[in-house]
Structures are given as C-alpha cells and as structure tokens.
C-alpha cells in the first residue's frame, strides 16, 4: 500500500517523510493525491513563481507493477495560466520513485543559489548546481549521470535555460526524451533555483498474492503486446496521425489558417520512419517502445564529416513545429525540436506562439523592429531557430512578452482571433471539430489528453453525434481519466486497462475497489481539480474561444459557434453548475 510522502524544504535545506496512508486510502494515488496535496500546500492567490508555490510529484498504486503504468504526475500552480498546473511524464521517474519508496514528493520554498536535489532511497541531499546553471537540458543529463549513483534504475529530470529564465511554458526534461511539458513546470523549477532532481532506489514491491498478481499481469501484458490495442504506438508511433489528420482536414497548418498541409507527407510518421528513424525506446516497464528517435545527419565540411543528432519526435511536435509553422522538411522540423529540447521549452506552446507571431508579422502587426531583424516567415526555419533563442534570452519587450505565452502576446499586440489558446494553454494539434474545442475549454488542464475531444469528433465524422452525446462522452472521459491518472497509466494503454481490468489489477495488489467506487472517485477528483481552478480565478463563463476555430474547415466541416455554445450549456447543466 502507498503511504509515504517526502517533503523537501529548499529554504531550510531539510527533508522529512510523513506517513499519509489516509490520503492514499481516500484518493488512491497519482493525480488524486497530488491534487489534494496541491490544495493543502498552495495558499490561495500565491504567485506561481514565488517560494510559497509548491511542486508536487506523485505516482500510483500500480506504478512499476504492471505494463505501461509508467507515468508520474506533477501538480503546481501554473505560471502560464495562473491556475491548475498539471503535467505528466514517462521515462524512468515513476519507477525510480517507487523503488526509492516515495509515493509523493512535495518541494517547498526556494534555494538561495542554483541547486539540485539528489534522492537515493531515504537519503536526500540538496547539492550545489552553480556550475550547471545555464547548461542545456540535454547536457545536464550527461553531467549528472557521471556524478550520481543508481545507474540503470535512476531518473534524472532537469530544466534548460528556458526554465531558469522563467519562460512561462518551459518544461522539465525527464531522462532525455520525455517531458513534463505543459503549463510551465520548468519555470517553477527555475523560480526555486532548482536545476534538477535525481531519484533512485533499491526497495522492491511485495504483493500480497504473487500468483494472482502474475495471472492478471499475464493477461494485461498479452493484451498490450499481442493484440492491436496499442499497435499504432509501437509501429509508426503517434506521428501516424500526421497523414490521418491531414486527410481528415484536422491537421492545423500555418496557425490554423488551413487544416491540411501540402507538405504533410514529408513530415509524416511514415516518411520519418522510413528515412530517419533509427531506434525506438521505452519508458521503464512498458513493452511498447513508442519513443521514436530519428537521426539527423548534417554535413559540416566538404570532407564527409557529419554531425549526428538523435532526436525524439512525436505527433504533437510535428504539428506544433511542423505543419503549424508551414515547415516542410524533416531536417528543419528536427532542428526545431532539438532547439526546444535543449532550451527546455514545451514544444506545443513554442510552436503556437511562433505561429501567432508569424501571422502577426505577415499582417504587419509586428515588424522587424520588434523581432530584432528576424523575419518570421512560414517555413523559415533559420528565423524560428533564432526566435526560440531570443524567447529564452528576452532581449526586448517583444520577446519577453512571447515568453509569457500567446495570450499575453495577443493582449499586448492584438490578433486575439488567431491566438490559439484555450484556458490560457496553447492548443494541441487538432482541428477536428466542436468536441475538441469544448473538451480543451472545460478540461482540467486544458490539454487534449483531458478528455480526447479530438477522438469524439473523429467518431462524429463517421456517424453524426448530437451535442448531448458529445458532451456525455467528454464528461465520461474527464472523470475516467482522473482515475486512470491516479494509477498512473500511460494514456496510450488506456485500451488495455478497461474499468474491470483496473479493478482486477488493484485487487491483485491488495486494493479492493469496485467499478462503481472508481466512478465515484473519478467524479470527486474532477471536482477537487475544479475547486483549485475556481479558487485561483478560473471562470468557465469567461472562457475565450479564438474566432479562428470557426473560420477554417475542420474534420466535421465548418464549426458553428452555436454548436459549441449549446454544448457548453449542456456541459454546465450535466455538471450541475447552473
């Protein structure tokens, strides 16, 4: 059973462990527990970048025990939209926390000078990080690997310069290729002078009934590996969506001015797999291996001398830094991905901010005076690379405003109608229809993975769904994912973990819950998250929906604003908010 919460105070340079069995008993683990801890730890109205704002990490009761139970949740107050900050990452962190025996970690306060935290079982050290401050996130990994213990079972998470300089959508890089990408956890690290966190442990997990555990494990493993439940993720990977959405008029292109891209084939999952993919890797204890790594080989002299870079690519990155910026070459795309990886920037937000800036530049709303002579043009990779660096360095007002996100940028320079954010979070790569728009607006973290509205739209394109049916589907996902994110499973494996299988898996490790119990818990978790959101000023009634969504054809045709309004009304009714 989970129970231990590790509290680390950066002000006092102290740490202690507390038994919080009550919390895990009621809220299961993962996001349920991390949301409750956030409500406990974060005073109302706190500046997200002040020492009073906490960082919380959590894992769940199935972590390290079952295939694809690979995620760690982070909760914090978002410096991007000022309300619920929640982000998930894979890699090896969840396993490392489990074996270190810390099922949740709370980081309080701020260090006076750059530091990193090293956790090895019960030993917690706060160490000096002065010499690695300013170092790219990728390089920090090489450095800490050599000085820290736990090779093969540890996790090293770190920020790049973007987090240090408080770019509001800076992420945290986890074990090189995974990220806490969304909503600005990197800036919160930076505000605490916290460069990195290393976790390793040697505990193991005993189960009450090994035989029952092995039986359910075998079933789940078989479903994951031998059926088509997860096929798309281990073949082409998430980039399979590039061609699919392009054909469905759902691939946002040039800041959502189009929903199909003439060069989509060049940056498609198939093309990348055939020409650039050289390896797939996995998060710890996931047999799928969805992390696709492409090799970018660039010649740097006439004598057959090459630079080789290994770049992890996924659908959302291809959308944000590819089609959304009109980038038509895999090389250009991969260079942009690498720039975000090194700086430690969220790729989705960066792509959306640059998309807005390019359109504003195109329309003459901003000029080279603002961009410091950098032309921002569709497919202009060199300009984008320079702009990314300047967003981090913030040499003038324009770039420092870009570093605050697309809401802030359009507040200052105009162009609200094409500033593609919902709930203050730059939108993911879908223009599929009303369920996506509504789903992102109402979702707890305004992420496409809150409730997968894009998938509901795609179903509606095949067989028309009424607004009511779409809203019901969104609510069902909202709540069910609160439970799944408490276990914590990778959402790519959600087809493997049906409610019945979740109940069996929990039972095999000694946690008896019924399907109904979990449904109730899902609703409760959703409500707790909204409690935090509303407390910090989120008002669904004031939610802004960019007009651009209604000007570009989507997967289900032109979207009628009235449909979205109707759905919003039904949603509020169904939630009992009116």
């Amino acid at each position: 059973m989970l129970r231990r919460v590790l509290y680390i105070d950066l002000d006092k340079k102290e740490s202690f462990v507390e038994d919080r069995g009550d919390l895990f008993e009621e809220w299961l683990g993962g996001t349920g527990v991390a949301t409750r801890l956030l409500l406990e730890e974060c005073p109302q109205g706190t500046d997200p970048l002040s020492p009073e704002a906490p960082i919380i990490f959590g894992i769940g009761p199935l972590t390290a025990l079952f295939p694809a139970m690979t995620k760690t949740v982070a909760t914090f107050k978002s410096p991007l939209n000022g309300e619920l900050g929640e982000s998930y990452a894979g890699g090896r962190l969840a396993m490392a926390m489990r074996f270190a025996g810390h099922e949740a970690i709370v980081i309080r306060g701020a260090a006076e000078s750059p530091c990193y935290i090293s956790i090895s079982d019960d030993e917690v050290k706060i160490k000096d990080a002065t010499s690695i401050w300013g170092v790219p996130a990728t390089v920090v990994g090489y450095i800490l690997r050599d000085v820290e213990t736990g090779v093969g079972r540890r996790s090293i998470i770190r920020i790049g310069p973007a987090g240090e300089r408080l770019v509001r959508y800076a992420g945290v890089v986890v074990d090189t290729y995974r990220h806490f990408g969304r909503l600005g956890l990197g800036a919160v690290f930076g505000s605490k002078n916290l460069k990195a966190l290393v976790v390793s442990g040697t505990e193991d997990v005993e189960v009450p009934d090994p035989k029952r555990y092995r039986e359910i494990y075998n079933q789940l493993y078989k479903t994951a590996v031998k059926t088509d439940a997860m096929e798309k993720y281990h073949d082409i990977g998430t980039p399979i969506n590039v061609n699919v959405l392009n054909q469905l008029n759902g691939l946002p292109t040039r800041n959502f001015q189009d929903s199909s891209f003439e060069a989509a084939e060049k940056i498609s999952g198939e093309h990348l797999a055939d020409n650039y993919l050289f390896r797939r890797v996995s998060c710890a204890h996931c047999p799928i291996g969805c992390i696709h790594i492409g090799m970018l080989k660039t010649s740097f002299s006439r004598h057959h001398e090459f630079e080789i870079r290994k770049i992890s690519y996924d659908y959302e990155l291809i959308y944000a830094l590819g089609s959304n910026l009109g980038v038509s070459t895999p090389e250009g795309l991969m260079e942009l991905i690498e720039a975000c990886e090194g700086q430690g920037l969220d790729a989705i937000s960066t792509g959306v901010v640059l998309g807005w800036a390019t359109e504003a530049f195109d329309r003459g709303m901003i000029t080279e005076d603002e961009t410091l002579g950098i032309p921002l043009r569709w497919d202009g990779v060199d300009g984008y690379l320079e702009a990314i660096e300047k967003i981090v360095k913030a040499p003038n007002e324009f770039y420092s405003v870009l570093a605050r996100g697309v809401e802030a940028a359009s507040d200052r320079y105009g162009g609200k109608e094409f500033a593609m954010a919902l709930g203050g979070n730059e939108v993911a790569g879908y223009h599929t229809g009303p369920a996506f728009i509504l789903g992102l607006t109402v979702g707890v973290r305004h992420s496409h993975l809150d409730n997968a509205g894009y998938s509901i739209d795609q179903a509606a394109a095949k067989r028309a769904l009424t607004p009511q049916e779409m809203v019901d589907a969104i609510i069902e996902e909202d709540d069910a994912r609160g439970v799944y994110n408490s276990l914590i499973g990778c959402l790519f494996a959600r087809g493997v973990y049906t409610p019945e299988k979740i109940v069996e898996a929990l039972g095999s490790v000694g946690i008896e819950r019924s399907v109904e119990d979990l449904e109730i818990l899902g609703r409760k978790i959703f409500e707790e998250k909204y409690r935090f959101k509303v407390r910090e000023g989120f008002d669904l009634k004031k939610a802004r929906i960019p007009a651009r969504f209604y000007e570009t054809v989507s997967t289900v045709g032109m979207v009628d604003p009235e449909t979205v309004e109707t759905m919003m009304k039904i949603y509020r009714e169904r939630r009992g908010w009116d």
Binding site: M95, G152, D204, V207, R214, K222, S282, G289
Partner: protein, 157 residues
C-alpha cells in the same frame, strides 16, 4: 508464458535419467541491438522467481550506457561449461550437476559474494538479504521480451 512459469522451481529435484539425456538449455542474447530498454525481462525475472516487482532481484540486467541516447547492454549468465562461480563458492551453494546445470542452494549461501566477484561478466549480484541472485535459465524473461532480443538455446557440450 505458461511454459516459462512451469520451468521454474524445479531446481531441487534430482535430474531423472530422461532429463539427463536432454540437452541443457541456456539463455542467450540473440539480438541485443533490438532492445528497447523496457526492462520487462527484469521485472519478469523478479516477478516469477522472487514473487515481487523489483530490479535488484533480477538475474538478468539491462544496462544503459550513456542514458537513453546510448545503446542498451543486456547482461546475462553465460552458463559456463566450467563455471568460475561454482569454483569460487566456499560453501557449496552453487552446485554443478551432471547435465551441466548449476543449481543455487539459497539456504547454503552465506552472502560472501565470492561468486559475484568471480564472474567477469558481472552476471551475479546479491539481494537485499545478502544472498546471491543466480540465473537458472528458466526462460521467464524470454517469454516477456516484446522484441525478440532473448532466446533459449541448447548447449552443445
């Protein structure tokens, strides 16, 4: 999967004449370059042989070399013909049978670590109770490798 589980736990039985005739089987890393680093093999070993979820109790190890950007290395017992671990054990806890199999007698192990030191490959480690973790070539890990990295092979003596 079922065969793999059935193959475990039989180490205390004396080899029947029929069994002795059968060729000894051992684990082999057939395609190391196909490894995706998922660690399913390590979890299978500890789950099936130790009844828990653990990396430290696994007899097979997947090492990272330079983080996830680097290559993975799979460390396994080679089932040596003349095993240095057996020679090094002062208490007879590692017992080489007629058919060539090495059987680990946990109750005889006093945790001195001589076997682990004797193995150049570093295929033996010590568990939290200080006892050796020795691969018994049961094939549990093979059944749970999603990428065909591991195979069982017959040993030509």
């Amino acid at each position: 999967m079922i065969e793999a589980e059935a193959g475990t736990g039989g180490e205390s039985k004396e080899a029947s004449p029929e069994r002795a005739k059968r060729k000894r089987r051992r684990l082999k890393v057939a395609h190391p370059e196909r490894c995706i680093g998922c660690l399913s093999c390590m979890f299978a070993c500890s789950r099936i042989n130790a009844g828990r979820a653990s990396l430290d109790r696994s007899a097979i190890r997947v090492k990272t070399q330079g983080g996830l950007e680097g290559d993975f290395a799979v460390v396994i017992c080679r089932a040596c013909k003349d095993p240095p671990c057996v020679a090094a054990c002062p208490r007879g806890a590692l017992d080489k049978r007629e058919d060539g199999r090495v059987v680990f007698k946990r109750d005889l192990c006093d945790g001195c670590g001589a076997c682990a030191d004797a193995c150049l490959i570093r295929a033996i480690s010590m568990d939290a109770e200080g006892k050796a973790i020795k691969c018994k070539h049961c094939g549990a890990c093979v059944a749970f490798c999603p990428h065909g990295v591991l195979e069982m092979e017959e040993v030509e003596e």
